[in-house]
């Protein structure tokens, strides 16, 4: 796998006595989408946060664009071209929609590029443009998710980490979010997608990793995983 933009190698994460992630390896290929699946508490978010630099790892290695990033601060990982839409969206509720984007735009060195990008994102997600002065906390769940994605795109990432983007959204909104994921992929952004909605995730992904109790239960081609009835029954409940 020489074309991998993200390689996670034998990753272990512990929270005190809890061994949350056990020897997980996975990769995202250039322009590809890897789905990270599994039940609640399987360790998916821990892995994503470790890639983003926000969790201490016990052992293992993380390479982004071929460079070892283990132990680097989240700020530096963003500058290496990785952005995250975190679990629970974590938009800044007391800031307006536009202020959320402006804060994320602080990483853009050129001020005029920052403005261009912000304007382009508010055109791309018209609802954000219409509500730019509204407090982000007053948006609906789906709108907040769009804001979380738009905010991540402010740094023009080459690798996007999407943690549970469809969780708790109305079916229509879920479709819209998956359309956006397709769009981003077609623009050449590589994606690590954490999802509880395995059926939809496996449709957009080219590779998939299934976690159970912090360890890899299965991994491989997304279609193969999707076709494995035993696996679906056991881990994906879909």
């Amino acid at each position: 796998m020489t074309d991998a933009v993200l390689e996670v190698d034998a990753l272990n994460i512990r929270y005190g006595p809890v061994h949350a992630v056990r020897g997980v390896s996975l990769s995202v290929s250039e322009g590809g989408v890897t789905a990270l699946l599994g039940a609640n508490g399987a360790g998916k978010t821990s892995i994503v946060m470790a890639v983003a630099g926000a969790r201490k790892i016990a052992s293992g290695a993380i390479r982004i664009f071929g460079q070892e990033t283990t132990g680097r601060a989240p700020e530096d990982i963003v500058r290496a071209g990785v952005a995250i839409s975190a679990e629970g969206r974590r938009i800044f509720a007391s800031l307006s929609v536009e202020e959320n984007l402006k804060v994320a735009g602080a990483v853009v060195p050129d001020a005029s590029v920052e403005v261009e990008r912000r304007v382009a994102l508010m055109e791309r997600f018209p609802i954000l443009g219409q509500r730019r002065r509204q407090l982000a906390g007053l948006l609906s769940g789906g709108e907040q998710q769009m804001l979380a994605v738009a905010r991540a795109l402010m740094s023009a990432p080459r690798l996007l980490l999407l943690d549970e983007p469809s969780l708790g959204l109305a079916p229509q909104m879920v479709d819209r979010i998956f359309d956006i994921i397709e769009e981003l992929r077609s623009e050449g952004i590589s994606i690590l997608l954490v999802e509880q909605n395995a059926t939809l995730a496996l449709q957009v992904a080219d590779r998939a990793v299934v976690l159970a109790n912090g360890a890899v239960a299965a991994s491989g081609d997304a279609q193969t995983i999707a076709g494995d009835a035993v696996l679906r029954e056991a881990y994906l409940a879909a």
Partner: protein, 295 residues
Amino acid sequence: MDFVIQQLINAVSLGGVYAMLALGLAIVFSIVRLINFAHGEIMTFGGYGIFLALVFGIPPLGALSIGVGAAVVMALAMERAAFRAMRGADVVALLITSFAVSEILKVLFQNMISPRPVPISLPAAWSSSYRIGDVVIGVGPTISIVVALTALVGLSLFLRRATTGMAMRAAAEDFEMLRLLGVRASRVVATAFAISGLLAGMAALVWTAQRGSVDPMMGFFPVLKAFIATVLGGLGSLGGAVLGGFVVGAIEVMTQAFLPDALSPYRDAIVLACVIATLLVRPNGLLPARSGARS
């Protein structure tokens, strides 16, 4: 009537000082979860800055700016030397660190400058007064009110309009997420300390201008009141800190002015009783912080 207006001016003047100090405490707490017990020494250091500048013959306005600058430098130095290494430590560890910093600085002030008050001689005009109708108003309280309102309005504009100000508000809500967006943590924290130092320096300015001396405990007592103000307003809430500051200032001045002499030894007890009564009704303070659940 004149008496009431004069007391009102005193209340706003004292409340403004408490509000600036409380806001400095709140802005640091909202971002770093540090209750900075050494905040008073930042203010005291600002006072000594003014004193030393005057000793070296710098004119009053210059000396006052040097004092404010000294407080900012002290706040930043404190963050760098004592608190940066402790980042992410729990609230108690941070609190005890700040106690240590506070004690060390107080001893240094005592041994290197003087345990007794040193005089600050500012132009006599600053301690005079003027009349509007029948009301006599002190120049000191006037300066105090103008400085406090300028600082509060300026900071509010900064938090609302400047991108760094927005990042400060975002950091108070979810600091980890802010870092995940690439905003440098050390810059946000340093800005928070610089602002708290700036506010403490301005508090030192109006405090010394009205009292005409500096001693090692100068900052300790007003900051104690500011702590009460932050708790009353809602710990970590910036608007709450300002409101709390003015409320504590008002209660203090009003009890002083209108309480019979026999009750005056109980003034602080009465102020604190009011605070406790408020917290019984509103346990999270007058204007609770919006977030803070996430660390």
